[in-house]
């Protein structure tokens, strides 16, 4: 509680000091950011205590009509608060240097303030134990992030994105109002979480269905689940990088938190299997679509935004599995799935933080994020490239990174579904596991694209490849999550153990015991994988190979003859083999070219429309000018949102006609309405 307060104070102090900008000797930007970082450190500690220790609840403030408003900490809250703290700390450190290039903007002083509010409101969402308070923080979070998204509001695209974000997030919020307040109203206007619980238990099945649907849609909209994802790939790239990192790392996880809180933790009700399947398939669709669109993006941040959709999909798949297992009464397996969901949430927050901040650092140095223009950064920025590499490996879910651990648990729970003797389970779950493997492979390709096209090869624009590493503040901002990624990869039990404890505290049976079943020996947490052993084996192999190679290739001056012009080393640096021609910038692979085979393979999804034109007087035979353009359609935007928006516009247009009608028209309308009402009343 005290830590939380300290955190809030420091965050606001940081915001304020940001206001003083350049007027002091010490840059207000840096001071503010460091204050905010310390605040986040306090949050981290609070979260750590919450995750490991006993929870606490603040003394409620009783307000008329609203009841006892309180905040509280338990393991679930602790996990998210801790993540928020870690990521907030990193992003604040990162921001202390990164913001430099934004300083000249007229609205710069809003940035730290909104940023402080944003973090506070997110921690508020996690901490709230009262529906109204929850919704209040939820709104605050939405508004502050909206403010951060539209910082560049002089751009048309930016404004549009902002309003799209606002519209969808408010649609979601409205549904949350319904889903949270209706049960409370039913429970006699008791707006605490326990009141909500009482209300929901007393509700009819149909009403409960409506409530859960509303909640699901509300949280899914925030999480960016397909088909409510459209705002995400637009809004995230618009915000400054450190904010994108928080939005993608933590803010969309509030949706996951909400699902855990209201579907899993709070509600004891047996959910019908339908919910599980719904989440599973929505998650799968998100994962597949997200990763496919990610592959096709040429802007790094947009690519990562789509990748966030993919990861949210994976998390929702795990949630869905949990609900499915619960509906079958397999609580132990359900708990396994929830561990997977939470672990992957944590993992995703960490590696997406690295990646977004890395993208920010690239933008900071090169002023572009276009993968078709970037390249060769690794030579100028070796440290950044290594951190980014860790993020990319985690994003691909490759062992021994933390990304693998989360996915591995999900695979395990999917495959565990085979032991349930329904044909649909036996058939669909392994299939979904295979599709998850497809997602994983595509995510790896997207990671290769983002890392490879930005850091390797050659830049399409001259001078880009000599961009140096960013300063230590930014690097340490990236370094912390990168370190955490590796740490969690090697020691996932650091997170999975407390999470398992948390899940066990839900009271739906224990976690699977070691050797509880033939199929999953040693499953509690993830020690079943003994990652240390694998990691050490990998490392030993690596070292052995390296040593052998070093020994073999250390043959200095072996062939040196007195007449030789060039002295001979074990390693000789020459030009890239380019078939005997000089290498030019145009010959290095671009992002668009990298993902072209995917575009062809998944043409059904993208329906790419290519336009290649040969111009000139002797055009088809001897063209003098050639142009190429491609347009890729986005399924949901082209076939759902656009028609829907068009439809809404058309309908409102027709209502507009009503408005301009004559007096007689209005009278007759009223008359008809009266008749209809009368008939209805009878």
């Amino acid at each position: 509680m005290i830590l939380i307060s300290i955190a809030c104070v420091l965050l606001f102090a940081g915001s304020i000091s940001g206001l003083f900008g350049r007027s002091f000797a010490i840059s207000g930007r840096r001071t503010g950011a460091i204050l905010q970082a310390i605040g986040c450190l306090a949050l981290t500690i609070a979260g750590y205590q919450g995750l490991n220790g006993p929870g606490w609840e603040s003394v409620p403030i009783v307000l008329p009509h609203l009841g006892a408003i309180a905040i509280g900490m338990d393991r679930l809250t602790g996990l998210f608060i801790m993540l928020l703290g870690i990521m907030g700390f990193s992003t604040s450190l990162f921001a202390s240097s990164y913001l430099e290039h934004l300083e000249q903007r007229w609205n710069f002083h809003w940035l730290p303030i909104l940023y402080g509010i944003f973090i506070c409101s997110m921690s508020g969402v996690f901490l709230a134990r009262h529906t109204i308070l929850f919704l209040f923080f939820w709104e605050m979070m939405a508004l502050s992030s909206f403010g951060l998204v539209i910082l560049e509001s002089w751009q048309e695209r930016n404004r549009r994105t902002g309003f799209m974000y606002l519209a969808i997030t408010h649609l979601g919020a409205a549904l949350l109002f319904l889903g949270l307040l209706w049960p409370c109203a039913k429970a006699g206007l008791d707006f605490t979480f326990s009141g909500w619980l009482v209300g929901i238990v007393s509700m009819s099945v149909k009403a409960r269905f409506i409530v859960f649907s509303a909640l699901l849609l509300g949280f899914a909209a925030k999480a960016g689940l397909v088909p409510l994802h459209v705002w995400l790939p637009r809004a995230h790239p618009q915000a400054p990088a450190h904010v994108s990192a928080l939005m993608s790392g933590i803010m969309i996880k509030t949706g996951v938190y909400g699902m855990m809180r209201f579907f899993v933790t709070v509600s004891p009700l047996p959910m019908p299997a339908m919910w599980g399947w719904l989440l599973l398939f929505a998650g799968l669709a998100s994962a597949l679509l997200g990763v496919l669109y990610a592959l096709n993006e040429r802007e790094i941040k947009a690519l990562f935004a789509y990748s966030s959709i993919e990861n949210i999909g994976i998390i929702f798949m795990a949630l869905g599995m949990g609900l499915l297992f619960r509906s079958e009464g397999r609580y132990a397996l359900a708990n396994l799935a929830f561990v997977a969901a939470l672990l992957h949430s944590a993992n995703h927050a960490l590696f997406k933080g690295i990646l977004f901040m890395g993208a920010g650092a690239i933008q900071y140095r090169t002023h572009t994020l276009n993968l078709d223009e970037l390249g060769g950064l690794a030579r100028g920025m070796p440290i950044l490239s290594i951190m980014f590499f860790v993020g990319a490996v985690a994003m691909s879910g490759l062992p021994p990174s933390n990304g693998f651990m989360g996915e591995w648990l999900l695979y395990r729970s999917l495959i565990a579904g085979f032991s349930v003797s329904h044909l649909s389970w036996k058939l669909f779950l392994p299939l979904i596991a295979a599709l998850l493997a497809l997602t994983g492979a595509l995510a790896a390709a997207a990671a290769v694209k983002s890392f490879g096209c930005a850091f390797l090869g050659r830049a399409k624009k001259v001078d880009l490849h000599i961009a140096p590493d960013p300063d230590n503040y930014m690097l340490s901002g990236l370094g912390l999550p990168a370190f955490c990624c590796l740490l969690l990869g090697f020691f996932p039990e650091l997170f999975s153990q407390p999470i398992a404890k948390m899940i066990a505290e839900f009271g739906y049976g224990p976690m699977p015991q070691p050797h509880a079943s033939l199929m999953w020996p040693r499953i509690a947490g993830t020690e079943g994988l003994q990652p240390l052993l694998i990691a050490s084996l990998l490392t030993v192999g690596l070292l052995a190979a390296w040593v052998v190679l070093k020994r073999l290739s250390y043959r200095k001056d072996k062939y040196a003859a007195p007449t030789d012009i060039s002295s001979i080393e074990a390693i000789r640096i020459v030009d890239t083999w380019n078939c005997g021609t000089p290498l030019t910038e145009r010959m290095s692979y671009t992002g668009s070219s990298f993902s072209e085979p995917f575009l062809v393979n998944f043409a059904l999804m993208f329906s790419p429309r290519r336009n290649f034109r040969a111009l000139g007087s002797l055009a088809p035979l001897l063209p003098t000018r050639l142009t190429y353009a491609i347009r890729v359609s986005k399924v949901f935007e082209d076939y759902m949102y656009r028609p829907a928006i068009a439809g809404i516009l058309a309908i409102s247009h027709s209502f507009q006609r009503l408005q301009a009608g004559s007096l007689q028209g209005y009278l007759s309308l009223m008359f008809f309405a009266l008749i209809v009402l009368l008939i209805a009343a009878k």
Binding site: L431, A444, L456, R458, G541, A545, M587
Partner: protein, 320 residues
């Protein structure tokens, strides 16, 4: 303690066997292929000669490359070696560390990831082209790889590689589902080890390369390591194919009279060698028989494999 020592000994034996057999199998495949084409074919020990030579060569490295270039072969080698050690060869006794199927699939993804990056690193278009193709092919191969293995593993109730043969043996329908899954798995193996309908290992055309394209820039010891890694991956997948789908002759128990142990070990080794010879023949005949598919028809091949695995899964799930 005793198990630890036993484990270490087994590990060493396996590593030694890998170091000998992986290049040898490559040599056998090449020679058999040559024979099928009416040639003498390269010598059986040629891969060893090649490796020795690579070790003695200078390394020529492009000035465009970064640390990824040198790291990629090492990471790939480590990952493939780890994966290779998981696969049961002649015996089914469990390893002290779990040879988890999912981990296996993901370990095999590491070399692809690393080599795709390495392909992009030298800034040449052939490397980039190859890594783009490799990513596209492997994205389609990975689900089939997982699904075809799962189909066999699931009814047995264990995801451990050494347990799968047991499971497959006891399956009443292993023959039917396994047959389908085996074909699917074989398609994936062809894609994974860059064999003919998917990739042409003997191609000299940069524009058609997949696996070769990514290693165009490597020379000397690192090139040797890459080839070695590739051969290990090849033998591992072949062993897996045969041990999982034709799980005969493997050693089960290591207790009992020592004569019995030796006898069963002998049988296991002989069966294993017979399997490898079959594998060599199978690969060589496939490569002689087929031609390279059009690049984007790989989707059809792997899609076909995917459908096969789903059918197999249907058999397994319904228990027909």
């Amino acid at each position: 303690m005793l198990t630890g020592i036993a484990f270490a000994i087994r590990l060493l034996i396996k590593i030694a066997a890998l170091a000998i057999l992986a290049p040898l199998i490559q040599g056998c495949i090449k020679q058999f292929k040559g024979r099928l084409q009416g040639r003498h074919g390269p010598r059986l020990l040629q891969p060893f000669f090649d490796l020795i030579k690579y070790a003695r060569k200078e390394q020529v490295i492009s000035r465009e490359t970064s640390w990824v270039f040198s790291a990629a072969p090492l990471f790939s080698f480590a990952a493939v070696l780890t994966a290779a050690l998981m696969v049961p060869w002649v015996d089914r006794s469990p390893w002290p560390f779990p040879a988890d199927l999912i981990l296996f699939v993901y370990l095999l993804a590491i070399p692809r990831f690393m080599m795709a990056l390495a392909g992009l690193d030298a800034a040449g278009s052939f490397g980039g082209m190859a890594s783009s193709r490799e990513s596209a092919v492997s994205a389609l191969a990975e689900p089939v790889l997982l699904l075809s293995l799962l189909t066999i593993a699931l009814p047995g109730g264990s995801l451990h590689l050494e347990a799968i043969p047991v499971a497959a043996n006891s399956l009443p329908l292993a023959a039917r589902a396994g047959g389908l899954a085996a074909i699917a798995f074989y398609c994936v193996v062809l894609a994974e080890i860059g064999r003919i309908p998917v990739d042409n290992p003997d191609t000299h055309l940069e524009l058609t390369m997949i696996h070769e394209g990514m290693i165009l820039e490597y020379s000397g010891p690192l090139l040797g390591l890459l080839h070695f890694t590739h051969w290990i991956k090849q033998i591992t997948l072949l062993v897996l194919l045969f041990n999982v789908f034709i799980p005969i002759g493997m050693m089960v128990e290591s207790t009992g009279a020592w004569t019995a142990i030796i006898f069963s070990a002998l049988i296991a080794v002989v069966t294993f060698l017979a399997k490898m010879i079959t594998a060599i023949a199978l690969l060589a005949i496939t490569e002689t028989w087929l031609a390279k598919l059009r690049l984007f028809q790989m989707m059809d091949l792997l899609g076909f494999a995917f459908v096969l695995s789903i059918t197999a899964l249907l058999f397994v799930a319904t228990g027909v």
